[in-house]
């Protein structure tokens, strides 16, 4: 990992001070600290050791990792992770050098339907890695970064369940949900919000982003990263937008 990242506290002492007055952030940090203590040494532990960025930090100065997880279904308890793709951003600049993905060998039978959707065959899956290895690789990439996902609840659900199995803990992670951001943007602009209109490929069209192949973990992660860059550019032409304005806060985590 590069050394370009200054710790958030050093970068903006006022933001750090202000964070003490934000009960959400304080609770989040405490939960994260608890999780850290329960996590065995390894990539997730390293990831949790790094202090999370303060909500007042500018988005332009924050490091992100856009992630997409392809699964056999929508239920974290029943369905399996098939692949994880990610790409890192410095502010809103997406760095393709960091683009990567792992195929996961499913720990249960792949339903025929999802095999078709994700172009995953048994042979393909056989070349994949164990889900634990995949998580290690993901958390190595996520160290010092804020996670971006489209419809993040799904990604977080699967991640939490997988982490519970692998590390015995559900890590609180700072997250940006591009679907929520887009929804807010549409409401703010007074445009109608429909479930179909918030799908990744529909939103990409709204922002003049090129169509990309879907149901590919890496390209979907890249798609979410591009959408995030577009949403931030729309909302904040000056580049001063605070991270806290884009973070996703499910009550449990934040």
């Amino acid at each position: 990992m590069s050394t370009a990242m200054a710790s958030p506290g050093q970068a903006c002492p006022f933001a750090r001070a202000a964070a003490w007055f934000s009960p959400g952030y304080w609770r989040f940090c405490r939960a994260r600290n608890r999780a850290r203590l329960q996590t065995p040494a390894g990539p997730l532990r390293d990831c949790l050791e790094t202090p999370p960025p303060a909500p007042a930090q500018a988005v332009a100065r924050t490091r992100f990792l856009a992630v997409d997880i392809e699964t056999t279904g929508l239920e974290p308890e029943q369905d399996a992770i098939l692949s994880i793709g990610w790409v890192a951003l410095e502010g809103t600049a997406i760095d393709l050098a960091t683009a990567d993905y792992v195929l996961v060998r499913p720990d249960r039978e792949v339903p025929e339907q999802s095999a078709v959707i994700h172009h995953i065959t048994d042979e393909h899956a056989a070349r994949g890695v164990d889900v634990g290895e995949a998580l290690d690789a993901l958390f190595r990439a996520l160290d010092g970064r804020v996670l971006i996902a489209h419809h993040a609840a799904l990604e977080l659900g699967f991640l939490a369940r997988a982490c519970e199995r692998r590390y015995g803990t559900r890590p609180p992670l700072p997250v940006v949900d591009t679907l929520r951001l887009a929804e807010t943007a549409r409401r703010r602009a007074g445009r109608p919000v429909s479930a179909g209109g918030l799908r990744l490929h529909a939103l990409r069209g709204d922002y003049n982003l090129p169509p990309r192949r879907t149901h590919d973990a890496l390209l979907d992660a890249l798609g979410a990263a591009e959408l995030f860059a577009a949403l931030v550019a729309e909302r904040d032409p000056t580049g001063a937008l605070a991270l806290g304005r884009v973070l996703f806060r499910p009550a449990r985590l934040w």
Partner: protein, 629 residues
Amino acid sequence: MTAELDEIRDFLDQAPDLAELPAPARAAMVRRLTLRYLRHGAAFPPAENGDGLWIVHTGAIELFDAGDTLCDRLGEGDVARVTGGECAATGSGGHARVTEDALVYHLPQARAEDLALHHPALGDFLRAPGGLSAPDNDDCGDMGERDNLGTADGRTTLLTTPVASLMSPQVLQADAGISLREAARRMTGADVSALLLQDGEPPGRPAGMLTDTDLRHVLAEDIPPDTPVRERMTRELVTVTGDTPAFEALLEMARRDIHHLPVMEPDGERLAGILSGTDLIRHQGTSAIHLIRDLRRAGSPAELSLRMQALPRLQQQLSEAGVDALRCAQVLTLVIDTLTRRLLELAEERLGPAPATWTWLASGSQGRHEQLAHTDQDTALVWADDAPDEAEEWFAALAREVTDGLDACGIRRCPGGVDPTHAAWRGPERDWHAAFERVFTRPDAQDARLAAHYLDLRVIHGSHSLFTPLRQQALELGYRHESIHTAMALQARELRPPLGFFRRFVLEHDGEHSPALDLKRRGLLPIVALARVCALRARADARSTPERLRASAHAGILTDDTARELEEAFRFIAGVRARHQAGRIAAGQSADNHVDPTTLTGLERSRLKAAFVRVAQAARASLGGEGQA
């Protein structure tokens, strides 16, 4: 683990501006790119560390120079180079702005330089945007892409094949003292159509040649078969050396209406072989010789017009055989010259003897040896001052016959009225001198066009001695008079190439789009006009555009680099036009100069754009300040 980003590589592969890079270099770029989303209205490049290459995926960016003039609009697949925070295309003091929300790829300078260590082609690409010179020794081996261009590839064509590989190395030779009968016997025995003859020593260079044609004349003229060959052989032999391109030999044969060329060793002293028309026929592309011969022998304008229907096909064949566009134009000019001569001869036969000596001149592309099948007439007629008063009638009749004849042969009448059916384009020598004097010394607004025509004039038929003083006068007056430089520079400046391409259209200076590119008017003529005015300042007696550019560089009017770049641009645009026309002829359409930008290959697009930029730069540099003359 290597992630697959095929989609992005595919996009780079289709970006016209990147077509010059070998595929592996493009593939290696993918993982070194960063992506950014730039909002409508944002400045470009977006922030510090913006140096390097930028590639637009969606959206649009407009570039302006220091004078706030639009100099380019980038759309999907277009590339901008940024150094020191400024776009190379805008020059220093320029600026750029996003005009449609854009997703752009950025190859940062440091990563680009790092990558260039492994892919030298990328290094060249970073340094010299849109190089025109064909990558001759480029080891990337991207033959597929270069084939699209149809030039400078490794195929052996009539052009590149040296004569040595086509000639017959076994030459039948004999002493010039043998009899005609003996010569005929030996030629029959060896089944050859030409016999080379030695006359005493030295025994290397042949003294003469006897061909089937000569033997036919011998029979026809009742020459006794015992006559020594020495008396009937052709003595002044036109020879070539073995390394001469076959195409040059072809031109030589066509020009002189001969069918055999002795081929000499490089020292010019020893005979290496003999090249016959048949050898070339075996290799293709001889239709030029045949067409010229047919035209020479045609007995009526109707027959000429019939023969001339082959002209577009000839152009297509030459183009498809890989003949360079300028050479191709030389051949077609030769054909049209021959046609004009034959029409003049036929008209003279019908009209009776001329009342005075005269000269038929061609101007425009024919005068410059740059004519193609899709062309019109630019001609003039001069006669001697001692002609009687009623001579004008005869010459007007000649002009009518020949212009009509050319028109019937597909060489359309000049829409601008430059032909001797108009009184301004025919007259006795003194009138021409007076016209030249006025145009070159006291030009008014319209005279730059006239001067351009005067400077392109060339003798097609008739007496050279009538035209030589006129030519000298034009060059001399043109060189000495500042006012005509100014007028012609102004005219040349008005002929501006477009900015480039945007999406499916041609991008014009005012930001408007046109659906088609006029390759002649917007591509070639700006260079022609520039070369003409520079050659005038250089006092150079050259007519073709490449010659004028070289002469201007030699005289220091243009820098060597500028002259070379302009010549490359000229060749390249002419090549695009030749391929475009060959395609249209093959499809049974008439050859025109209007290209739909969507039919250009990516490489053609990016090189055309680079050519336009260079022409515009050269025009600014050499026409902008008048003090350089």
